[in-house]
């Protein structure tokens, strides 16, 4: 075990296949060196820490300076806005998440996600119809990127005519989450900051409109609907909308792209999916285990000295919970490095666990299921043009930047 492991995980050279590094990491279940973070990579340790009330998501509890965390910038939704519920502890977290959930899921809106099914299908069909040259398709740019942004626009209630502007802000912000080493960071920061500001002002205007004339979209409901917790402030709606945009976008892109890549590497599974769209359900679950879009959670800190496997993690320490390593822990999953949608026991960490478990999970599942089953059905004889494809820089939100594929044609 060398201190190089963390550096290697961040090193772009290992982006396409970080799993051997994760396996090495699991040999030291509580990995720590110098003033770096404490790194947890075993399934059961991660699972229990995600349910441990002595672990905080609030950066204010961190003792170590943020600069000591080499992934802090990559993972953060740095904004001028107050922290979203992702970066808050209860009771504030619970209140905001609960209020956000009212228009999104059970018990108050049990059918919201389900009712988007038809619309999602139409968006997917539209994007596939738009593929003009089957000899060279960049699945990321032509499909995986535009899909979730459009979905979030519809969910939030962004008018159709504004979707294009929204896409461009989203792309700019997304790019800033994937810094290229050596690029002019100041310039990039400025561009990203401008995009955030413009998006924020746009959303603030939209919120004002919706306050006056509410529709049945989430932005209207977040800014007007009263529950036992009252109504969100404009700033809270903005933070929440920004969270839904970024967290619900970056991750779904990778889930779909990683998914298609994995299917193309496992043609028998792709063929089964082509014949049976219902097979998408177990396929997506196994994908969330096998290639989780969020590889690790680098933003937790300890409120007390905590002992894990005989190692005391001191109060205020920074934690990395490497979900992707836990998902391939042989102590938890049989033959973990095999992609097997037929495994019955698949309680993966792909969506995290505990109070911060992925808010958008039901939507992400549906998006990925529809996207992958439609791609499998309509692309005729699809194949990879590059394996591995070029990856994004980001080690936390890991996925291909491009996925060049070809097929013989597009089925109707």
């Amino acid at each position: 075990m060398t201190e190089a492991i963390l550096r290697q995980i961040i090193d772009y050279a290992h982006r396409a296949d970080p799993y051997p590094l994760y396996a090495e990491l699991r040999q030291t279940p509580v990995y720590h060196d110098a003033d770096g973070p404490f790194v947890l990579s075993r399934y059961y340790d991660i699972q229990s820490l995600l349910h441990d009330p002595r672990i905080s998501s609030d950066a204010r509890n961190l003792k170590t300076p943020a600069t000591a965390n080499p992934l802090a910038a990559e993972a953060d939704e740095e904004t001028a806005l107050p922290p979203s519920f992702l970066r808050l502890d209860p009771p504030e977290h619970d209140r905001l998440r609960r209020m956000t959930n009212r228009p999104f899921g059970p018990p108050h809106s049990p059918r919201r996600v389900h009712e988007m099914r038809g619309e999602l299908k139409d968006i997917v069909s539209g994007l596939i119809d738009g593929i003009d040259n089957p000899d060279r398709i960049d699945l990321v740019d032509q499909f995986s990127y535009p899909f979730p942004v459009t979905v979030i626009c519809r969910l939030l209630g962004v008018p159709r005519e504004d979707e294009a502007r929204f896409h461009s802000w989203a792309d700019t912000i997304a790019a800033s989450l994937d810094p290229v080493p050596g690029a002019d960071t100041d310039e990039r920061a400025k561009v990203s900051h401008n995009a955030r500001t413009e998006l924020g002002m746009y959303l603030a205007g939209l919120i004002e409109e919706r306050r006056k004339k509410p529709g049945d979209d989430m932005l209207s409901q977040l800014s007007t609907a009263g529950g036992p917790d009252g109504v969100m402030t404009t700033m809270e709606v903005l933070s929440t909308a920004a969270l839904l945009l970024i967290a619900g976008h970056e991750t779904t892109v990778n889930l779909i792209t990683n998914g298609m890549l994995t299917l193309l590497r496992n043609p028998d599974v792709l063929e089964r999916l082509r014949k049976d769209p219902n097979f998408a359900v177990p396929v997506v679950e196994e994908l969330l285990r096998f290639e989780p879009p969020v590889q690790l959670v680098p933003q937790r800190t300890t409120l007390a000295d905590i002992e894990v496997r005989g190692v005391t993690i001191p109060k205020g320490a920074s934690l990395w919970l490497v979900l992707a390593a836990g998902n391939r822990d042989p102590d938890r999953f049989e033959d973990p490095d095999r992609f097997d949608p037929d495994r019955g026991d698949i309680q993966h960490l792909g969506f995290g666990s505990g109070i911060h478990s992925c808010f958008g999970a039901p939507l992400a599942r549906l998006e990925a299921q529809l996207a992958l089953s439609e791609l499998a059905r309509r692309l005729e004889n699809p194949r990879l043009l590059e394996d591995p494809p070029p990856y994004r820089q980001n080690a936390v939100l890991r996925g291909p930047r491009h996925l060049p594929i070809a097929c013989d044609g597009i089925r109707p």
Partner: protein, 464 residues
């Protein structure tokens, strides 16, 4: 593999009889097949229905959102059993290895699993219990009948007993807009299971949702009209309540009467068994061929001072059935203990209540997270300076942590700071359980063999 091959023979051509065709019985049967049992399997049940799930009966079914005939338990695998449904077992001949049935039939076994569960404790005055409009809630038929009567829009429902089931019934009534009075002899709902500190939160929930909650009173009598319909109830405080539906929710009785005289260690508190689910006979000797699982079983638990625990918990029925089935087909060295950590959930007045461990063993409680006034909190129970139980109101996701504290006999009060610790959670306070010698209606966990006030049994040591 056993030395003489008898285990192989049992697996190949043995006869296993399961008495009790509900959750525990079904899961045991599935596990037996899973573990390679190829012999004959007989499932005996007193109800005419295939195994069904009970938790929805007091929730979705009473709300009219699901019908009682749609709560059948999902099957994990085919069990290829001979079903004897609608026929209660009436006796057991341990020497001849035979179960007697109400229709006169007898079924022979090589291994027997008893999972006869519990039934609702009826209203003690028989003539009053038979009035039209008086219900209990335990079975599918009970739920169907009660739902039908709620659907007719009664003017007022009286629920007698504010344990979990009684509270869920009251909650369902309020959700349907039906006026409801709840009478509880203790000072608050749920006190038997969770103590007075949490019980007072439950009382707030009742009242906030418009339940006419009367605590510290007993119902002394039910009154019917000339047509034999219930119309009123009289209370120990002199009050009378008019109600056209009365639900008696006074806890449960173990279904062990059919074992009277069999020589098995069965009584009103259930059937005593070892941690491997093997039943004791009345001499305290463990049997080799009779196993027990589910609500009717009482087994010693190392985490709780080796006291005999009897749990009316869904998860316990599943876990104990699986362990019993495993052990039925195993040599002594391969048997495993049933040391499940009790866990329980309820849903009432829009709040999700979950508990782990044995809160009712606790003497103190600490509100470790959240706040009682917001009805969202985690209460941790302490017993002899260690964590013995925990309960959450709408904070389920932290429960796993507290379960680990229970499993590792962590010190109480837990010292570490946690997220969402409020001023009220700085100091433990008495958990405020009622005197265990006074019966309450709530507990779903029964500890030990005899209640402290039980003096019927005397132990006379031999004289030399």
């Amino acid at each position: 593999m056993s030395v003489d091959g008898s285990l192989d023979r049992l697996k190949r051509e043995g006869r296993i009889v399961v008495v009790g065709a509900s959750l525990a019985g079904l899961r045991a049967a599935e596990t037996l097949r899973e573990k390679g049992f190829d012999g004959s399997l007989t499932m005996i049940g007193d109800e005419p229905y295939e195994p069904y799930d009970r938790p929805p009966l007091s929730k979705q079914v009473l709300l009219g959102r699901a019908t009682a005939d749609r709560t059948g338990l999902p099957r994990h695998r085919a069990i290829d059993a001979r079903w004897r449904l609608g026929v209660p077992a009436t006796g057991l001949d341990m020497a001849a290895r035979r179960v007697r049935l109400a229709d006169g039939d007898e079924v022979e076994y090589d291994r027997l699993l008893i999972a006869t569960g519990i039934r609702a404790r009826p209203w003690p005055q028989e003539d009053e219990a038979e009035l039209d409009g008086v219900f209990v809630l335990r079975t599918r038929d009970d739920a169907e009948a009660l739902e039908r009567s709620l659907a007719q829009g009664p003017r007022r429902v009286l629920v007698i007993g504010a344990g979990f089931t009684g509270s869920e019934i009251a909650s369902a009534c309020r959700e349907r807009g039906i006026a409801v009075t709840v009478a509880e002899r203790a000072d608050a709902p749920l006190v038997g299971a969770l103590g007075g500190v949490v019980g007072r939160v439950a009382a707030e929930l009742h009242r906030k949702h418009g339940v006419d909650l009367r605590c510290g009173v007993m119902v002394t009598g039910l009154e019917g009209d000339s047509a034999g319909r219930v119309r009123a109830a009289h209370f120990s405080d002199g009050n009378t309540i008019e109600a056209d539906v009365v639900v008696v929710s006074l806890g449960a009785q173990r279904n062990t009467e059919w074992l009277a005289g069999s020589g098995l260690g069965a009584g009103p508190r259930g059937i005593a068994c070892d941690a491997g689910c093997r039943a004791f006979d009345i001499r305290g000797i463990v049997t080799d061929d009779i196993y027990v699982a589910g609500d009717v079983a009482r087994s010693p638990h190392p985490l709780f001072g080796y006291q005999f625990l009897s749990l009316e918990h869904w998860g316990n029925a599943v876990a104990q059935a699986e362990t019993a089935a495993h052990n039925m087909l195993s040599d002594s060295a391969d048997r495993r203990p049933h040391i499940w950590v009790p866990a329980f959930w309820s849903s009432q007045f829009g709040v999700n209540i979950k508990s782990v461990g044995v809160p009712s063993m606790g003497t103190e409680i600490l509100i470790a997270q959240g706040s009682r006034s917001e009805h969202r909190f985690t209460g941790v129970y302490g017993y002899q300076d260690r964590v013995i139980g925990a309960v959450t109101f709408d904070q389920t996701k932290w429960l796993q942590f507290y379960q680990q504290l229970i499993e590792t006999t962590a010190p109480f009060p837990p010292a570490s700071p946690t997220v969402d610790r409020r001023p009220e959670g700085q100091q433990p306070m008495p958990a405020d359980f009622p005197d265990p010698s006074v019966p309450t209606h709530g507990p779903t966990v029964t500890l030990s063999g005899y209640a402290p006030d039980d003096r019927r049994l005397t132990f006379t040591p031999a004289r030399h």
